[in-house]
Symmetry: D2
Subunit: 332 residues, 4 copies
Amino acid sequence: MILHLEKNTDTARLKQLADFYEAITIIDEQKIVLITPSRFKNIEEAHQPFVKEVFVFDNDIQLASRKYLKDKRTVQIGQSNIGGTFRNVLVTIGPCSVESEEQITQSAEFVKNLGLSTLRAGSFKPRTSPYTFQGLGTKGLTLLDNIRQKYGLSIVTEVRDSSHVDEVIAFADVVQVGAKSMYDQGILRKCGKTHKPILLKRGFGTNLQEFVQAAEFILSGGNENVILCERGIRTFETKTRFTLDLCGAAYLKENTNLPVILDPSHAMGYAYGVPDLARACMAMDIEGLLIEVHPNPQMAQSDASQQLDHQQFETLFGTLKGIATAINRTII
Amino acid sequence: MILHLEKNTDTARLKQLADFYEAITIIDEQKIVLITPSRFKNIEEAHQPFVKEVFVFDNDIQLASRKYLKDKRTVQIGQSNIGGTFRNVLVTIGPCSVESEEQITQSAEFVKNLGLSTLRAGSFKPRTSPYTFQGLGTKGLTLLDNIRQKYGLSIVTEVRDSSHVDEVIAFADVVQVGAKSMYDQGILRKCGKTHKPILLKRGFGTNLQEFVQAAEFILSGGNENVILCERGIRTFETKTRFTLDLCGAAYLKENTNLPVILDPSHAMGYAYGVPDLARACMAMDIEGLLIEVHPNPQMAQSDASQQLDHQQFETLFGTLKGIATAINRTII
Amino acid sequence: MILHLEKNTDTARLKQLADFYEAITIIDEQKIVLITPSRFKNIEEAHQPFVKEVFVFDNDIQLASRKYLKDKRTVQIGQSNIGGTFRNVLVTIGPCSVESEEQITQSAEFVKNLGLSTLRAGSFKPRTSPYTFQGLGTKGLTLLDNIRQKYGLSIVTEVRDSSHVDEVIAFADVVQVGAKSMYDQGILRKCGKTHKPILLKRGFGTNLQEFVQAAEFILSGGNENVILCERGIRTFETKTRFTLDLCGAAYLKENTNLPVILDPSHAMGYAYGVPDLARACMAMDIEGLLIEVHPNPQMAQSDASQQLDHQQFETLFGTLKGIATAINRTII
Amino acid sequence: MILHLEKNTDTARLKQLADFYEAITIIDEQKIVLITPSRFKNIEEAHQPFVKEVFVFDNDIQLASRKYLKDKRTVQIGQSNIGGTFRNVLVTIGPCSVESEEQITQSAEFVKNLGLSTLRAGSFKPRTSPYTFQGLGTKGLTLLDNIRQKYGLSIVTEVRDSSHVDEVIAFADVVQVGAKSMYDQGILRKCGKTHKPILLKRGFGTNLQEFVQAAEFILSGGNENVILCERGIRTFETKTRFTLDLCGAAYLKENTNLPVILDPSHAMGYAYGVPDLARACMAMDIEGLLIEVHPNPQMAQSDASQQLDHQQFETLFGTLKGIATAINRTII
């Protein structure tokens, strides 16, 4: 249940109500919001004078629900906006990992020349084996910072675990929470304390209910700038790396008020399928795409098989524009 | 392993080779084809004089493999063609089940007015409960036959089990083998004996390897007109009915020579998500779409929740055309 | 909804009620049973005089539900019984396929010497590739018939599709409906017309709801002798062939009145894991085990990797008896 | 690849070899171990004089592989041992969460009276909703510490994320890494620096390969005391909470040298199925069971539906002993 109180509610009353309804409190300039567990379905008569509005929910998807906020939330990234009434679609490309100054410079120039506004690259890699490249860590963040200043691009980069979450939040323009970290409360709670946009990836074993509930951790912490990213779930089919869940994306569009971004690269796992899937994602009429593009995929230190090279992406980009036009979206 | 023999190979020799390599034989006007289990990797020296060409495979995907036939096969449906060098995309719509003369007439007129060429409707329904509508059976086929004659549409209809397979093959323009029937050898073997197009749906628990091997049953029976249809697989996500596997579709496009059709309706299970998914399917650059459309979905006797009404489909159809244009396809 | 009518209800009334409630009718010696779709939740006042008992259900699991029949049903196999108040556990072993007279004779002697009562072997194999061994068909049934007469064993054998369902029903002591055939209404409806025990295997992509609904096809056809067999479902884990769903078995025990048999061989797919899993299955306190045992697994024409040899099974059998004793069951 | 060097290898040489083979180094009293990425398959001739033994692997399961260490590793917990040549089976019970002094005291007395040696209870709960009980945190650890001192039990408790990993490692007798945290390198790396036993739970979306690779993070950090815990994977079946993967447990037993513990409570999610599943787990012949038992399940603040009460567990415990005897194991 979500309660909207008057801004001038006194502190003692606020504390009393929050305790009574086991609520998390958000105070902003216009109003005070109490978010209670969803098992609360109504308020006591005695409390009604202090409550302006009440929203009741079937389950713990509350702040993210269309039943609370009917219109899609707007998230600002650099000078641009996605969601809301904007018809922008953010196409974010770049390598899986920042590997060297030369590599990331080539990537940035490519992005800039295409007229795009964001660059993605990971520096803390959540690998599943201890015997593979683990990312450049803090050194990679410094490289990305130079790029940002030189090219004026917004940087999307990933936090792996809560041991370095402060560092990534301080640095990134968009903080990516990866598929393997999305239950990490050490991360989620810190992301709730900033106002930077959070790109929350769905875990490959995570159902939609839990995925949106992870967003609720951030939203109920006070950060409204949450973007949901579907990137493939694990199914019995192993000819491809994961299974991109576009039915799930349709569900998120219908039922939540959060912008949705799709990642065809991690889902497919093989470059050959990425262009078709990227076009399909664009046609889903969502707020963005995340595509792995590397100046030289064969030499990539992680995810070599699924990254497009610059020429492959340019070819794809032409048709992405055609589809964006067909559904009345503008690529940013 | 596939062997091409000379057309004039004598019968005794043919029999000897087929026995030796445990092969299935197809004889057409140009050549004799022996298809052996894929564990055979080469031919005896003594047999080489009788063999024109040899194709070796990693597994039992053989006739359907791009390694055998690099170009996509062409399948003729009515007066139209899909696959091959054609850039057609077949948009087949219609109700889940034929329910009455009035309902199917309304559907046919709608299809005709849109300028489409095929109508889908099931008459033998493979329901999972004995206590729900089971289809009109033979009576439904008669209704569909009248419609075909009156409107000149090609009819796509489903066989449920081998007890009525002959009847459906005799009647249909395209024989649909449903997701729950696709391992049924009684059906697959009969489909191999006809030359009618077979629309083979992937089982929701079927991996891509087994799916294409089911097509091999039909192809090795002598019928080259097989179309693969992805319609959603069963995953841990249950907010939607199934999970449409577009990564799998990308795999099929890359590795097989068979036309691919996508069915967003069964995957999603809810009408609200079908338009976005249908656009995504179109953007995948495949040979067709299968969409459930009913004159009055609320009254549908099966799959009520996922069928679009005529107005919803008309709205969708406009944007489908836009995307088809963007990827250089023509809707038929 | 299930209605029990008086045995002496007249035919016109019976037809009226069956039509009104869209019911399937079973007439036995004691009573008339109408099974309606589960959306019916109560009966008209005017009909109450003709109805002795009413059972209401949440969904189409009705005849199989503990809410209808609280006690487990008894199924007789040869001279033995499983289910009901019996504490028997049927251990059925034998090769995947009947391959030759010698092989099946060795198997039968092994079963006989262990004091077991049933032999399993398939003759119509539902293979996923057309290029592998497809079973001996009718010839295999004849071999099994000789074995039955010579050794007095009950024969468990599989029907693959409805093109030979009559033949298998006429022949088998227990008709096995395989995982790939369990939606086949051509088979299920014929199985409802016999009184032979039906061993219904769960499809590897089939959820528990659909699985029990398939049993409802048989039960509502008039055959009470249905046994449910869990044999592994398809999951993202591919180091093993399937994933044995013992949580599902626990669900079936709690919620249905049908005997349950477990098949660790197909689930695991590798002989090394079968003994541990077979012991786990026995400890689940269910009505039976199905284990593939072959006189010479390396030479097996199907499922070679998962079959135990006779010595491996003998070792296992000793510990199975120990566990059966610990849970107060008797192996038959 | 794993290389064993002589203990007296000089530091410069060691550094050279580690750099050349991109190796992680472990130095213990007897030997120096270099663990390289598994893509290294042999060593240069020039390096052979410095290398005593070489082990080559197909993939990054190396230290945990039976190909490296054929015998199962021994892990000491309190005064007891599991694994190795011991035939002990650790039955660890206790509530999901420590909730109050009274509740955890009742649990400890119950454990003590049964003659068991360990108590499990979580204090940092990795919940999927921000609106539910999140655990007592540090205060819960203090309660557990008192219990340990008073009753002499070993405490198994969970770390949720790396923000409090030091605290939990300092406190616990067995550090549990939960299903949602098992990719967390902040946790895994810290666990590699201690010598306390680590109970690593498999993520519900984690395949066996990744699961054992997570153990490799800890092993290659220098901690040999890793226990693998299977607790159910997420599948299409949702009548039960998860699907206990005993086929996977059989795989782990065959292919790794790490002790295995099974958790039927989280897999099933409902108390009614736990006793049968617990017996099945015991029959799998593994090193331990983890079962949620609460003095008053209805009042539990987390996982209320799946916890057994004390009487239910006592009944179960009797039959667990019978099965342990049948497979020659001793419960500790």
